[in-house]
Each structure stands twice: as structure tokens, then as C-alpha cells.
């Protein structure tokens, strides 16, 4: 990503914005896939995210990483997207979750990249689990920060993280047994 493309993107030049988009689309779409329930939702998040990125790009202060800044915007948009759908209110008790037989399609396919398999498992998780898991494990937030971001208690964040982790482990273990 060059300074020229960045400046031209801020000016709203479409060709530069396309370059900017092409540079980040792969990484950012994976971010959206991790937070979304399915691929369609992820594309909605990505679209909203890039609109927000181009809208606020002039506010990027340059003090940190541009990719970090873009990812932060995308994650915020993803969280707002989930909040709009009130999915984050869902705090299903893991004890009540059974891995259904029809969830077998979520099991890892050994001929595919592991990340793709993990996304498949994440899509099977309740939204609350998936969001906390993403924020804690992959964004590096603390439980205190997650509690502030999502408006939940710290203990809820910890519980959801542990249950999501257990779910993930269970799915991976099941794949080894089959």
C-alpha cells in the first residue's frame, strides 16, 4: 500500500479505492467470515465495513498500522451488524447445545486449509460464543475490554469464551474420531 494510493483514496478517486480494496479484501473478508453466521452475512459486513473505511479514511492519524486501523473499523462494523440483529443478546448455555448430527458438515475437511475449517466450526457456534471467542483469541482484547465493548459482564465474557473453546475442542476431537 503506497502513500499515493492512500491519499488518492482519501480524495475519493475510484481507481485508487479499488487498489485499496484489492489490497485488504482478502484479510478483511476473513475477519468478516469469522464474525458472521454465514458467507452472505460476511459480505454484508464487508460492504458496510469498506463504506465506513472510505468515509473515515481521512481520520486515520498515521500513528499506527493502517491494516490495524482498517481491521478495527471492520470489526466495529461487524459488531454493530450483529447488534442490529440482536444476536449478541443470545447467550445460549453451552450445556444445552448438542452437536447435532446435521452439524457434521462443519467438521474439518483435511484437504482444506485449517482456517477454512475453523470458520466452518465458528459458523456453527451461537453468536455470543463466536464473538467473544474472536475478540479474545484473535483480536487480543482482554475480558474487561470485551465486557465494555459488548455491554456484558466480565464473568459472562469469560464463560462464553471457555464454552466456545470447549465447543471448538469438541468439534476438532470429533473430527479425529471419524
Amino acid at each position: 500500500m503506497t502513500e499515493d494510493i492512500l491519499k488518492a483514496s482519501i480524495r475519493g478517486e475510484r481507481l485508487a479505492q479499488k487498489e485499496f480494496y484489492n489490497f485488504f479484501k482478502g484479510k478483511m473478508f476473513v475477519v468478516c467470515l469469522r464474525y458472521a453466521k454465514n458467507r452472505e452475512d460476511a459480505e454484508d459486513m464487508l460492504q458496510e465495513g469498506f463504506i465506513k473505511v472510505f468515509q473515515d479514511l481521512h481520520q486515520y492519524a498515521g500513528a499506527g498500522s493502517l491494516e490495524g486501523w482498517v481491521r478495527k473499523v471492520i470489526v466495529n462494523v461487524a459488531l454493530q451488524h450483529l447488534k442490529k440483529q440482536q444476536r449478541l443478546l443470545s447467550t445460549v448455555e453451552f450445556d444445552n447445545i448438542e452437536i447435532a448430527d446435521d452439524a457434521d458438515h462443519a467438521l474439518p475437511h483435511l484437504d482444506e486449509p485449517m482456517a477454512k475449517n475453523l470458520i466452518r466450526i465458528l459458523h456453527q457456534m451461537p453468536d455470543g460464543f463466536r464473538t467473544v471467542f474472536n475478540l479474545y483469541v484473535l483480536e487480543g482484547y482482554t475480558h474487561i475490554e470485551i465486557a465494555e465493548i459488548l455491554g456484558i459482564s466480565v464473568s459472562t465474557s469469560k464463560t462464553q469464551y471457555l464454552r466456545a473453546k470447549a465447543y471448538m475442542r469438541k468439534m476438532l476431537a470429533k473430527s479425529l474420531m471419524t
Partner: protein, 478 residues
């Protein structure tokens, strides 16, 4: 096969590594849909104005100021040339003993009590006034004495009260001229036969002056966008961080200045200045554990340590006010039993103090006008900065959450790398000067300046700063 990648107690790390370089594209045609929803270029033009507002405003002010100065100069030059031509013609007429008498019916004239038409206008140029003379004295004498008086740089001479209203009325239409000398021939009492108004010479002598000035300013700073490298990628280039001064600094400049009047109403000013101040700033490197190099391994991320503190070295480049520094930090785990991840942010905040010493060279153009002892001036131009010193000291460091602390607080942190050599400011000032006598004058000028430096020596954007203050000083005219 799966067991190799799924260590039972380090699932988080396994998942992180799985996603580290994984990318997946959205469906084809996604960009076309996105492009349709993006605002057009003109709408984002506001963002441009928002970002470059200072520069646009400064450029507009410079343009307006330059245009005004040039237009004023041309107008004045034209008027003076016209008047000089008229004066020459008048002199020739008088030297040929051809008294100037208004005989044109529409030529304005002034009456004087008991004497017919004591002030008459040149018949061909109403811009010139010649006071009537007593009968018997040739008008050429007046002209010669006027020339002598101008050469001797005569100052204003009071005219007789009884004809003052007429004279003032006569010259009122010439008010655009900067200053009038009302010259008197220096005859003995009783032999002064006339007073002549000369439009040629302004009172102010063109010449050199020098002075000592001090400017006290408040400096505020705005961080510019960094020339971006993908710093979040810990496998990528070295992290570059810019420090930001939150406080407005008080800055003092000490000047020795010299100036020269280059045209009526215009002066060029230059000199030498020295500036020294302490810049207090802070920066947040936004480091994560993965950005560091582990030097003492007692467990590492993802699990509690066993028998000691984990220690990491963090290195990054700090862009400062006038240069760049290498920062090297060794951070140690505070609680050896606490779990932390590779993605764990350190939440570091460092405060720094820089002692900046700068040699400054102003290049200013001043447009001035005034009456009597007061002169008002509008100045604009540039100040070239030569940075002599930029010493940085880290005065404080804090880590959010207190998970990590500096391994040894006595270790040196900042290692000076290089100091930027040059910078450029643009400056505007408007003020007043009061003449104490023919030689000395004092001045007070509110000033405003802003930096034009785009990049420092590390090819990162230099901080943009603005200074508003007051310049006071004493000038001596030769």
C-alpha cells in the same frame, strides 16, 4: 495429523496461527456493488478540505496578500511617475521664467484673504500646487530652494495658520500619496515669500535599519499522517511511531534583524534568530507481545511461567519533532503465574522531553503605511530553520493492565539516531511601529506562523505545528 496442530492446552495459539496468513476473497462482482454505494469524489472533497485546511487557508492568505501588495505597488508607482513628470514640467516652466498661473476657468483654485488666488494649480496638472508668491520675486527661486530642501531631507514645516485650510483643501485630492513634505524656503524672517507643496518625497527616508526583537509564542501541534508501512505485520518492516505533543508549548525566539526599504511602502527584512524550548510529548507504540523478541523464556504466551519472568525486547523508531530515534525497551512479565497471549497488547504509553535548539533565518516582505510617528506594517514570508540539537529523554513509561514492566528502569531507552537538518515555516505578522526619534523606534507585532516541513529525515511526516505570539523589538535607522 490433526494432533500435530492441536496441542491440547494451546488451542488459542493454534487457531491464531491457522488464521495468520489465511485470506479468502469475496464473491466476484463484489467490488462493483461496493463501488455503486460509495460516495462520489466531490463528496469526499470535504475530507480533503478537512485534512489540508491549514495549508489551503495559508495559501489563500498568501495569495491575497501578494496580490494586494503587487497591485498597491503598481498603483503607487504609476502615481509617483505621473507626479514626477508633472514636477519636471513645472520646474522647466519656472526655470524659463514662465510663472505658473491658473488661467483655466475650470481649474480649482483657492482664495486667500486680501490677496488674489494665493494658491494656484498647475494649469495642466491639478495634482501640483504652487503657493502664490509676493510680487517681484521670480518663482524659480522657490523651486531651487525646494530642491535644496528635499536634498537636505527637510521634514514637515508648519505652514501659516491663515492659509493652512486652503493648502489642506488643495492637497486633499492628493491624499493617496504616502506623506507630504510642506517645504519652506529658508529665508530670513520677513523674506519667506512662499510655501510650496511638494508631492515628490515621502517623509520616510528609504534606507537600512537594524534591530533586536523577541517573539514569545504559543506552539500547538498536529500530527500528520505517517508514510505508512504495514507495521502491524510483525514479520514486516520495523515499526515506526510518531510522538504527539498534547500540550501547547511556550516558545521564545531571539532575533537580530536588518531591513532595507526597497520601494516606497515596501521593506525587505532578514536576520538571524535563535529558538530553544522543551517539547513534552507522548506516544503509544501499540505493541503486542508478538512484536517483541523473547530474550528470557520461562513459559511464553499461552501459559503460566515456571520459575521466572518472561522478558521481551521491543524495538521501534520514534519520529520526533526534529528527527528520529531508535527506542529499545526490555519488558519483563510482572506476574509469573498470569496467562497472556501472543496477541496480548502491551498498552504502552511513553512520555518524552526533547530539548530543541534551532537557528532561524527570516526572509520577510513588509508593506507599511502610517502617519506621523506611527507606522503600521503587514509582513509575510518564510523562516528557514536549521536544527542544531534535538535531544530526547524518556521521562515516563506506563503499561496498561500492569502485566509487563520495564526489566531494568536504569537501562537507557532512547538512542539518538539522527536529527533533521532543515525546516521551513511560513509567517504572517501585522503590527505597529512607533518612532521615538529620527533613529530609534519600538514595535509590537502579533505574529502567526505554521510549518511547511513535509517529511523528516526518516521520510516520515514531520509534525505540523502552528505558533501564535507577539514580536516586540527596538529598531535603529541609519
Amino acid at each position: 495429523m490433526m494432533e500435530e496442530h492441536t496441542p491440547k492446552d494451546n488451542l488459542d495459539d493454534f487457531i491464531r496461527r491457522s488464521f495468520e496468513r489465511y485470506e479468502e476473497d469475496p464473491s466476484p462482482g463484489f467490488w462493483d456493488n461496493l463501488s455503486d454505494k460509495l460516495p462520489n469524489q466531490s463528496a469526499t472533497g470535504m475530507a480533503l478540505i478537512h485534512r489540508f485546511g491549514w495549508q489551503i487557508a495559508a495559501a489563500a492568505v498568501i495569495l491575497i496578500l501578494s496580490s494586494t501588495l503587487i497591485a498597491g505597488y503598481l498603483h503607487f508607482t504609476n502615481k509617483v511617475n505621473t507626479l514626477i513628470a508633472g514636477q519636471t514640467e513645472l520646474k522647466e516652466q519656472l526655470l524659463h521664467n514662465n510663472p505658473v498661473v491658473s488661467d483655466q476657468p475650470n481649474t480649482p483654485s483657492l482664495s486667500h484673504s486680501n490677496t488674489p488666488s494665493p494658491i494656484q494649480f498647475h494649469q495642466n496638472n491639478t495634482s501640483y500646487v504652487k503657493v502664490d508668491q509676493r510680487e517681484g520675486l521670480p518663482p524659480t527661486l522657490l523651486i531651487e530652494n525646494q530642491a535644496n530642501a528635499i536634498a537636505a531631507n527637510s521634514v514637515n514645516v508648519e505652514i501659516k495658520p491663515d492659509i493652512k485650510p486652503q493648502v489642506e483643501n488643495a492637497v486633499a485630492q492628493l491624499a493617496y500619496l504616502p506623506k507630504w513634505n510642506i517645504l519652506s524656503s529658508q529665508f530670513q524672517q520677513g523674506t519667506i515669500v512662499a510655501k510650496v507643496l511638494s508631492p515628490i518625497q515621502p517623509v520616510n527616508k528609504p534606507g537600512w535599519y537594524t534591530g533586536v526583537h523577541t517573539t514569545v509564542s504559543i506552539m500547538s501541534e498536529k500530527q500528520k499522517k505517517q508514510d505508512h508501512a504495514d507495521n502491524d505485520n510483525h514479520h514486516g518492516p520495523r515499526r515506526v511511531v510518531s510522538s504527539q505533543s498534547k500540550l501547547n508549548q511556550i516558545v521564545a525566539d531571539y532575533w537580530v534583524k536588518a531591513g532595507k526599504q526597497i520601494a516606497p511602502h515596501f521593506t525587505f527584512e532578514t536576520g538571524l534568530g535563535y529558538q530553544q524550548f522543551d517539547r513534552l510529548a507522548e506516544h503509544q507504540p501499540e505493541l503486542k507481545i508478538r512484536d517483541g523478541e523473547r530474550v528470557h523464556d520461562h513459559g511464553g504466551p499461552g501459559g503460566p511461567s515456571h520459575g521466572g519472568h518472561d522478558e521481551y525486547d521491543f524495538n521501534y523508531t520514534l519520529n520526533s519533532y526534529a528527527g528520529s530515534m531508535d527506542i529499545n525497551l526490555r519488558m519483563a512479565q510482572v506476574d509469573t503465574n498470569a496467562m497472556y497471549s501472543d496477541n496480548q497488547p502491551l498498552e504502552l504509553k511513553l512520555t518524552t522531553k526533547e530539548r530543541v535548539k534551532t537557528l532561524r533565518i527570516p526572509l520577510l516582505l513588509a508593506a507599511h503605511t502610517g502617519k506621523g510617528k506611527f507606522k503600521f506594517a503587514l509582513k509575510g514570508g518564510f523562516i528557514a530553520n536549521v536544527f542544531l540539537q534535538n535531544e530526547l529523554e524518556v521521562t515516563g513509561i506506563s503499561s496498561g493492565g500492569n502485566r509487563f514492566k520495564r526489566s531494568d528502569p536504569n537501562d537507557p531507552i532512547a538512542q539518538k539516531e539522527s536529527t533533521q537538518r532543515y525546516g521551513l515555516d511560513i509567517v504572517l505578522a501585522a503590527g505597529a511601529e512607533y518612532r521615538l526619534n529620527n533613529k530609534l523606534s519600538v514595535l509590537a507585532e502579533p505574529t502567526f506562523s505554521t510549518s511547511l516541513a513535509l517529511q523528516n529525515n526518516n521520510l516520515a511526516p514531520a509534525p505540523s505545528y502552528q505558533m501564535a505570539g507577539l514580536n516586540v523589538g527596538l529598531n535603529y535607522r541609519f
